[in-house]
């Protein structure tokens, strides 16, 4: 038991995590490519044309996985943040910092494709639908996190301040989501749900799940690349970074 703990803490140091991440990155890129190819193939060629929505609906194969990922990444970010505050490990803060831009990107893709989807479906680029609105607020939360970290010069302070914000945010995300939903039903706005289509074909669900896996692998690969860059940046003054072959050149 204690052996295992020591083993895990070994990888909590940036020095030992850096090469490990370097080894993992190609694998995650490969998985991204495989899942992406299968997912796109299903979504473009296998999934049937929707009776009501025509071909335009196919954007949900991007839209839904992106929305899922944007929420999931926020949870993971908050988990790293909490771990960093509790155990005072430096890598946790770096992971949270590395995840934030990807999460923001996912939220942005979700909003953007939502608008693209809304135009042919509802005839307007934007509706104050509960999902879109809470996604927008989630996007703001990401931007706030990134802005706070960017505004603080001392990286350790930036990590801790960001961690507190992420934890406050993660408590608030469900509250915001339900309040927006409540607001939406009260105003009886356009609450057209993509999941409500009468018979969502099995193949569509599979397509979305595989695309979600693709996005997931992509997020991990990109976050690992970013965390490597952050490690190099913060540890420039240490001996082990100066000894790295890629730095020596």
């Amino acid at each position: 038991m204690s052996n295992r703990i020591i083993h895990w803490f070994k990888f909590a140091s940036p020095q030992s995590f850096y090469p490990l991440a370097g080894k993992m990155i190609p694998w995650f890129w490969a998985l991204t490519a495989v899942f992406g190819a299968i997912g796109l193939w299903i979504s473009f060629f296998v999934a049937p044309t929707d009776a009501v929505q025509g071909e335009g609906y196919r954007i949900i194969f991007i839209h839904v996985p992106a929305s899922w990922m944007s929420m999931f990444i926020y949870m993971v970010m908050a988990a790293w943040a909490g771990l960093g505050l509790a155990l005072n490990t430096r890598l946790s803060g770096m992971m949270a910092q590395a995840l934030a831009p990807t999460g923001a990107l996912m939220a942005f893709i979700s909003l953007w494709t939502g608008a693209f989807w809304g135009k042919p479906m509802w005839g307007t680029w934007w509706v104050w639908d509960a999902r879109l609105t809470s996604e927008l607020i989630l996007f703001f939360l990401y931007i706030g996190f990134i802005a706070l970290q960017a505004a603080i010069d001392d990286p350790r302070r930036a990590d801790k301040a960001g961690a507190i914000l992420a934890l406050v945010g993660v408590v608030n995300v469900p509250i915001i989501y339900f309040s927006v939903k409540w607001w939406n039903t009260l105003h009886q706005g356009a609450s057209v749900s993509m999941m409500k289509s009468p018979s969502m074909a099995q193949t569509m669900l599979w397509g979305m799940l595989i695309m979600a896996l693709c996005f997931w692998m992509y997020s991990i690969a990109v976050a690992l690349m970013r965390v490597r860059a952050i490690i190099l940046e913060r540890e420039t003054h240490t001996e082990w970074v100066k000894e790295l072959p890629e730095v020596k050149q």
Binding site: D153, D154, P155, R234, H237
Partner: protein
């Protein structure tokens, strides 16, 4: 193993109390002891492996160039910014575990004014005491202000006072607070000759009473004795 921090803390307190009156010739056990301390500011290591012991009645003069980490050391000592490595032991227990019990016995005056410009010296002193959970009557507060030559200025908002007078308002807290450990960052800045004499006399009294002090200063200190930590 059962461990009762409250109990052992009490024992430590009693021991310290006994040694408050220094007996010449005996070895006094240290009340504040720092070992293997290192501090990092940003990504730069300011100092490492720093250690010292202070017994009741002793004081430490922290010396060093600008930017050598004097203020960082004091801030680590009082618990504002935790050190990267090392332990700070007060009455036999690490300060981060003592928390409020340590802060009750310690007074830190940084190079900030730490007084409210809109309030009068009297209000400043009384409110500062109230925030520490102590009550301070007018007479005591007045006496402290008078000691620092602020007679006639007690009811004037601090913003009308000069820099040196503001500093004196802050230093009056040394008298009213009853702390055992004084941690003072550049206490002699902005003070005139008379005030420097007053302050060094006050520190002398504090040490004679069995108090401890840690000071930074660029000038040679007008207080006899003292250990030196050079950063």
């Amino acid at each position: 193993m059962p461990f009762d921090p409250g109990n052992s803390r009490k024992a430590g307190f009693d021991a310290g109390f006994l040694f408050r009156t220094p007996i010449s010739g005996t070895i006094r056990p240290s009340m504040l002891s720092v070992s293997d301390l290192s501090c990092i500011r940003g990504e730069r290591r300011l100092f490492s492996g720093l250690g010292f012991d202070l017994a009741p009645g002793e004081w430490l003069h922290v010396q060093g160039e600008n930017g050598s980490g004097k203020t960082t050391l004091l801030r680590a000592l009082v618990g504002l910014s935790p050190p990267a490595e090392g332990e700070i032991i007060w009455r036999g227990e690490p300060t981060h575990r003592l928390g409020e019990d340590y802060r009750r016995e310690m007074l830190y005056l940084g190079h900030h004014g730490a007084v409210k410009e809109e309030l009068t010296p009297l209000e400043n002193l009384k409110l500062a005491a109230a925030l520490d959970g102590r009550s301070l009557d007018d007479r005591e507060a007045m006496a402290a202000l008078h000691r620092f030559g602020l007679k006639g200025r007690e009811e004037l908002p601090v913003r009308f006072l000069s820099a040196g007078q503001k500093r004196r308002v802050l230093l009056a807290r040394l008298v009213t607070r009853n702390a055992v450990l004084w941690v003072l960052d550049e206490p002699f800045t902005a003070l005139d000759v008379k005030a420097v004499d007053m302050l060094s006399a006050l520190i002398g009294e504090h040490l004679a009473d069995g108090g401890l002090a840690v000071l930074t200063s660029h000038q040679p200190m007008p207080i006899p004795g003292g250990k030196v930590a050079r950063l």
